[in-house]
Every structure is written in structure tokens, then in C-alpha cells.
Symmetry: C2
Subunit: 165 residues, 2 copies
Amino acid sequence: MKQAIWLLALLGAATVQAGEPAPAAAPNGITLPAYFKEWRVIGVSHRNDKNSLRAILGNPAAIEAARQGRTQPWPDGAILAKIAWKESTSPDWPAAVVPGELQHVEFMVKDAAKYAATGGWGYARWLGKELAPYGKDAAFDQECFQCHSAVKGRDYVFTRPATFP
Amino acid sequence: MKQAIWLLALLGAATVQAGEPAPAAAPNGITLPAYFKEWRVIGVSHRNDKNSLRAILGNPAAIEAARQGRTQPWPDGAILAKIAWKESTSPDWPAAVVPGELQHVEFMVKDAAKYAATGGWGYARWLGKELAPYGKDAAFDQECFQCHSAVKGRDYVFTRPATFP
């Protein structure tokens, strides 16, 4: 019953735009996950070194894993999405840093076998509102992988799921 | 068809805990909206004056309104949720501010007639992981209303929906 109510609440006003052209795939073949804007929140962050604010979302498999603490390792099928905005100042509350221009959206797709060469995760990023694929060739993800290797002990994921009530 | 795929993606691994005891209502009678953790993202913020990071979510009516720009005024039925965490530093990336302890969850519930005395919005807040209702008596929301009156010209809402792809 409760599940039914929840579903009705979600479906009550679904905002899915059909017919939008899909952006080009990343150079390693990863395509933009559909409906990632509808995914739920895993965390947020403010990167002072990049002057950007981020929302970290997860597909249902990732949300399940995050809420149940199954992140060492994350399960195959989990996808993490990071939406990054240039930091801006609230016109109405100067002490608040708020999202400005959209910088990029980026993804980590867990498939231990398929992406074994990059720690079990496939990486992809699209830039700006026009969602231009990032990277010159298929080797672009070495840049992602090398940086994320700093957190190899956390299955290559910097984000620690935030505490929810 | 696309809608069907989206629904399947959302429903694939629904994480709804049934049987959790509901927290007490706010002193003005507002009850904690069910399943707000499943709501989608409207924005994020970093309050330097409160040393907190926030995720701003919306129920389906609020998400519809935000994406369509119907926020002057927001429609009746829209509910905005703000989840606030104490700011912390990423153990793995010192330049990143990340969520620490959960501080509170707070809500704005739009009903122009019902909440006419407070600008058409009902306010409520619950503190900490235990979700203790905030406010000594039903007049607590005057504090909320007075602060939000600074943005009366934006229908009392500080959050400007972030840009999504």
C-alpha cells in the first residue's frame, strides 16, 4: 500500500520529454544514461578548487546500494551521475553559494568485467547545456581512472553517500 | 514508450521502507511529507553563514513547475524540501566541502488559501536524524515567514531552480 502511494506520488506529474535528440556518445562508447535527471540524490559537494557546486545522483541500483551500505564494492549496474555547476552567489542571500552556469554532467558506470581495465568503472562526461562529449579519443578515460585511483580502497568512488533521515 | 522505460527504471529497485514510525507533526499541524527522499533535485547550496550544505528537492508538482518556469507564483500543491548537512571536508579531496552530520529537513508547502497568513506557504522543519519537530508552538512559522519575506517578489522562495541539461 505504501509503495503504491509512493508510486502514485512519483507518477503524478512525470516530466519526461520525449523526442529530444540524444547527444553523441562518449569516445569510449558510453551513451548518456536516459532520464538521469529523474534519479535520486546520493550527495552534494562544493569543490573549492574548481569553484563548482555538484549534485551526485544515482540510478535505482546505485540508490539501493548507497542506502544499504553496499558500496565496497558497488554492485554491477550501479551508475553514479554528477551534475556540476559553476559556483555563483545568491542574489538574495550573499552568504549562500548557489548553482550558476551548468558546467558538465559526468558518470561512473559499474561493470566489473566490461570495465576491468579501469577498475570496474566506465567513465563518461558531457560538457555544458549542449552536452558535448568530453575526450579526444577512447583513451580519455585514463585521465578519470588515474585520478580516481587515489580512492581505489573505496572502489574508486570519491562520493560518500550523505546521511538521510 | 519512453515514459514506460523511465518508469521501469525508477521502479526497478524502489527503496521504500514500510512500517517506519512517522515523526510527530510540526506545531502548526504540517506532517512530514511521505517519501520526500525519493523526490528529484531542484538545486543545491552551500550556506557559508550556517556552515551547511543543502540539497533542495521538489515533489512532482514542484518539479513540473520548476522545469516549466511556473514559479511566479509556484502552483498550489508544490512542496519544496531542503535537506541540510553540517559542512565537512572530504577525507580524500581536501578542497571539497561535503555533507557531514544531518542538521535538519525543512519544507515549504504551497496552498495559497490555506496558508494565506504566511504568504501562501506552510512551513515546517524537523531536526536531526531523529526528525524532532522544530518550534515551540504554532506561531513558530512567523520566524520562517519573516525571513522569507525578503524574497516576497519571488513568491517567498530563495531557491532559484538550477539549470539542467
